[in-house]
């Protein structure tokens, strides 16, 4: 496959060639073309999380290299770009999860359980998560729920949530998140007082 044919090939065709001839120059060229097509969107996605050009570039390199190394595991049941999204998302979540806490005023949101490293905390976390999902579903409107999960599970910055949910208003998603937090706290307090 020459350069022209590579440029015209579909993602799936390039994946097949890259996996079949992994170590040959043709296979490597196919992988380079494939990942090159998506490099811009990977960089933009990484930048949304770290908000710094150099860090986003490092992270994007990491994502692309990781995709190249695990290309064998791509089973073709979804689009290649969706598979790449899952890699980019995991890398970005790891990058913002450790080592520093998230910097905004929504410290209460940090108490929403996250998947921890040890089994016990995972079990406890899942129970709490289910309870919170249930509480949120009963007490928050759709936008508040979605904003909350974009912040807590997708770890997106508040500005990005404002854009994604198309929230108007001066304080954007921050106001929505604060409202969600207040409602959730109230619901949690009621639940606790009902238990005691």
């Amino acid at each position: 496959m020459n350069a022209k044919e590579r440029a015209a090939a579909s993602d799936q065709e390039l994946v097949a060639l890259a996996v079949r001839e992994r170590t040959s120059p043709a296979g490597r060229a196919a992988a380079s073309e494939l990942l090159g097509r998506h490099r811009g969107r990977v960089y933009i996605w990484c930048h949304r999380y770290v908000r710094d050009h150099e860090r986003a570039l490092d992270l994007a390199q990491d994502v692309l290299l990781s995709a190249w190394r695990s290309l064998d595991s791509f089973q073709g049941r979804s689009r290649f770009s969706s598979w790449l999204f899952s890699i980019a998302r995991n890398r970005c979540l790891s990058a913002v999860r450790a080592p520093e806490p998230m910097h905004d005023d929504d410290s209460e949101l940090e108490r929403v359980p996250d998947r921890g490293p040890d089994t016990e905390s995972i079990v406890v976390g899942r129970e709490e998560e289910q309870a919170l999902v249930s509480l949120a579903a009963h007490h928050l409107d759709e936008v508040e729920q979605e904003a909350l999960w974009l912040r807590c599970f997708e770890r997106l910055p508040v500005e990005e949530i404002t854009r994604l949910l198309d929230i108007s208003g001066a304080s954007g998603a921050r106001a929505v998140l604060q409202s969600a937090r207040r409602k959730l706290r109230l619901a949690l307090d009621r639940r606790e007082s009902g238990r005691s």
Binding site: S32, H53, S82, S86, A137, E154
Partner: protein
């Protein structure tokens, strides 16, 4: 269905009918809706966020992919022996013995025929020492673009420039070129190099792909 969606297979939902259990789940699960929204945003054409330098990033990532995947660096070649080592390599020693023997015999012949005016011609030439080190000329620097220059090496048909960090780690390579200068855009040629640190470079002269000479290390001041 209570399980959340698999982030790697979200696009399957597009083809799924409304009554598909996954679609039903998404309607009631804010977390999966958020994930789906993030996925669609990744695949969409949303503008780059403020502060992002997409064109720079695309160039740097393109160079990165080219270097790491399409044309990975070959394993480092074993160090070339010095010209003195090569002259005294075991395979060459018999030739030296013959040359010395011929010289001794020739000298003896000269002494015996000292009255004879005819010159004595020795067949073959002594081994030629490699040429002197490739000479670098001062580079021309205009921001990210640097023109590296050097004097032509005897018998060289191409040159390659290797770029190193101050820790002598190779961070890029440009060429080959048949000219005695090359324009290097540092952000493309050495995207992994640290800003604010000088870069080092060495010009390698080649003949039919074989390395025949090296320059000393030159310095490109910090950007």
């Amino acid at each position: 269905m209570n399980a959340h969606l698999d982030p790697a297979r979200l696009d399957e939902l597009q083809a799924a009918p409304p009554e598909d259990p996954r679609r039903v789940h998404v309607r009631g699960c804010a977390r999966c809706r958020a994930l789906l929204r993030a996925h669609d945003d990744f695949l969409g054409d949303a503008p780059a966020p403020a502060g992002a330098r997409l064109a720079d990033a695309e160039r740097a990532l393109g160079a990165f992919l080219e270097r790491e995947i399409a044309n990975p660096r070959p394993a480092p070649a074993p160090a070339r022996p010095s010209w003195l080592d090569r002259l005294w390599a075991p395979a060459v020693r018999p030739a030296w013995a013959v040359a010395v023997a011929v010289l001794v015999a020739g000298g003896a012949l000269l002494l015996m025929r000292s009255g004879d005016p005819r010159p004595v011609v020795l067949r073959g030439a002594p081994p030629v020492a490699p040429g002197s080190e490739l000479e670098l000329l001062a580079p021309r620097i205009e921001g990210d673009a640097v023109t590296l220059r050097w004097r032509a090496a005897h018998e060289a048909d191409a040159y390659v420039v290797r770029l190193f960090s101050v820790g002598l780690e190779e961070v890029g390579r440009v060429g080959p070129t048949a000219q005695t200068s090359i324009l290097v855009r540092l952000s493309q040629a050495a995207p992994g190099a640290r800003r604010g640190e000088p870069l080092l470079y060495r010009v390698v002269a080649l003949t039919r792909g074989d390395e025949i000479g090296n320059s000393a290390l030159g310095t490109i001041p910090p950007r």
